[in-house]
C-alpha cells in the first residue's frame, strides 16, 4: 500500500549546453520534430525591449484556423488529400477534446492520421488499432493510426473505404478542429473551410518587462532547478519566499545574481516548427550587448 502511494511517473530529462555554432547542437532538429507547439517563451536577460527584427519575427508567426464541428471523415476528402495532405503542408489537432475522456484526432504533416478513442468508439469504428500505451490495468483507450500517403489508403482502396465508412456512418466522429498550414499552403484549405463554420486566429504575443530578477548561474545550476526556475519566471511565480513562509518555500536556486531588468516574451497558439526555427535563427544572430536592442 505504502509503495503504491509514493509511486511516481517515470521521467527523462536531457539537458544540452553549447554554442549554437557547435556541430552537436540539436535544437533545430528537436524543434523540427515537434508538430504541435502550443507556446514558445523567450527570456532575454538585461533587455528592456526586443529589437525591431526580433519583434517582427514574433509578430509574423503563421495564423491558424479553428473549424467548428468538423466531421472527421472530411480529412479523407480526395481534394483535401491531393492539395494539402500529400504536399505535407498541413497539420491539425482536435480542439478542447480531453485526451483521457474524449475522442481525439491528430493529423501530422507527413500525412499520418491518429485517432485516440475510448473503447466504445473504437469498436463502433471497426478499423484496426491497438491499445493505448498509456493504459494502466484495463484497456480503456485505443489508438488508430493510418498513413494517408500509403498506397493502401489511396482513395477508392479497401483500407480507405473502410475508414471512410467507419467515420462517416458508424462512428460519425465530429470535433472542433485546429488546422494549420505551412507558408504558401493556405489555398489548399479553402475548399474545406468553405463548407464549415471557421475562424482564423493569429498566435498571441505577450511581453513582460521584469525588474530586479533574481537569476541562477546556468553553469553551476542543476538542470531540474534551472528548468523549474525558468518555468516559474514564465508562469509569473514569486521566487522570494522566506524560510518561515507558510504558503511557499520556493526560492531561486543558489548561486544567483540579480538582473536589473529582463524581457520575457511568449507566443502561443498552434505554432509551426518553421516559425520557431526562424525565431531561433534570429535570436542566435543577434549582436548581444547589455541593454538591448
Amino acid at each position: 500500500m505504502c509503495a503504491d502511494l509514493s509511486r511516481t511517473p517515470r521521467t527523462l530529462l536531457v539537458c544540452d549546453r553549447s554554442s549554437f555554432l557547435d556541430h552537436k547542437n540539436r535544437v533545430s532538429s528537436q524543434v523540427e520534430q515537434l508538430h504541435f507547439i502550443y507556446k514558445v517563451s523567450v527570456l532575454l536577460p538585461e533587455c528592456n525591449s526586443a529589437s525591431s527584427s526580433l519583434d517582427s519575427v514574433f509578430n509574423s508567426f503563421t495564423s491558424f484556423y479553428l473549424i467548428r464541428k468538423l466531421p472527421i471523415y472530411e480529412l479523407l476528402d480526395k481534394d483535401f488529400l491531393q492539395s494539402a495532405v500529400y504536399q505535407g503542408s498541413v497539420h491539425g489537432l482536435s480542439f478542447r477534446t480531453r485526451i483521457d475522456e474524449d475522442n481525439c484526432v491528430a493529423l501530422m504533416p507527413n500525412g499520418r492520421l491518429t485517432l485516440s478513442l475510448d473503447k466504445d468508439s473504437f469498436e463502433l469504428l471497426g478499423f484496426e488499432g491497438k491499445p493505448s500505451r498509456f493504459n494502466h490495468r484495463s484497456c480503456s483507450r485505443f489508438e488508430v493510426s493510418v498513413d494517408l500517403t500509403d498506397s493502401s489508403m489511396a482513395p477508392g482502396g479497401r483500407g480507405y473505404l473502410r475508414l471512410l465508412t467507419g467515420l462517416k456512418s458508424h462512428l460519425q466522429l465530429q470535433t472542433d478542429f485546429l488546422l494549420s498550414h505551412h507558408p504558401g499552403g493556405g489555398a489548399s484549405l479553402q475548399a474545406l473551410l468553405s463548407r464549415y463554420d471557421w475562424s482564423e486566429h493569429k498566435p498571441k504575443v505577450s511581453r513582460r518587462c521584469l525588474s530586479n530578477l533574481v537569476c541562477p548561474a546556468p553553469r553551476s545550476c542543476d538542470p531540474h532547478s534551472l528548468l523549474e526556475w525558468l518555468g516559474a519566471v514564465d508562469a509569473d511565480v514569486r521566487c522570494e519566499n522566506s524560510s518561515s513562509s507558510f504558503l511557499s518555500s520556493f526560492v531561486c536556486p543558489e548561486a544567483n545574481t540579480t538582473l536589473g531588468h529582463a524581457l520575457s516574451v511568449s507566443v502561443s497558439g498552434l505554432l509551426l516548427p518553421h516559425d520557431v526555427q526562424r525565431l531561433i535563427q534570429e535570436l542566435s544572430s543577434l549582436s548581444w550587448s547589455p541593454g538591448c536592442p
Binding site: 503504491d4 502511494l5 509514493s6 511516481t8 511517473p9 517515470r10 521521467t11 527523462l12 530529462l13 536531457v14 539537458c15 544540452d16 549546453r17 553549447s18 554554442s19 549554437f20 557547435d22 552537436k24 547542437n25 535544437v27 528537436q30 524543434v31 520534430q33 515537434l34 504541435f36 502550443y38 507556446k39 517563451s41 523567450v42 527570456l43 532575454l44 536577460p45 485526451i99 500505451r133 498509456f134 546556468p218 553553469r219 538542470p223 531540474h224 534551472l226 528548468l227 523549474e228 525558468l230 518555468g231 516559474a232 514564465d234 508562469a235 511565480v237 514569486r238 507558510f246 504558503l247 511557499s248 518555500s249 520556493f250 502561443s268 535570436l283 542566435s284 543577434l286 548581444w288 547589455p290
Partner: protein, 148 residues
Amino acid sequence: MTSVEEAEPSGFQRVVLTNASPYQYLKIRLVLEDERSRLSDVELKSFIIAGLKSLHGEVGAALNFDVLKYDEESLTALLRVYSRGLVKLWSSLTLQGFYQNQACAFRVLQVSRFTGISSLEEPLIYLLFHVTQKKRISHFPHYCHPLP
C-alpha cells in the same frame, strides 16, 4: 540516475537524468456550491492540509507542498509537491467534498513535471541565453518526455 558527457573545449555538455524529477506541479481549481464564496491563499492551503489529514492522518498532513501561485478570483492555484507525495496530495484533493458546510470539488486541471504548465505530456524545450564573455550560448533542458 544521471549520466554526464563532459564539457569539451567547444563547450558542449550533455546531462541525461532518468527518473530524477524532484517535484510535480498541479494546477487546480476549487469549485464551491456558492459561486460567490472566496478563500484567501492561506485559507486554501489550510483547507488542503485538513484534507490530507482526514485521508492520510497526521503523517499525511505533514506532507510539504507549496502554493506557488493563487488567483483568488477564479480560485485557481498552482501547487508544487515532492514527486513521492503526488498520489497522496492528489487523492486527498479528489476526496474533499465539503468546505464550511457547503459542497465543493477540487478540479485537477493539469499535472506536470514542469512549472511552465501549459500543456501535458509533451516534449518540452526551454532555451536560455546566457552571456559569457560576449558569446551566445544556448543552454536548454530539452526533450522531457514521459516514459511508458
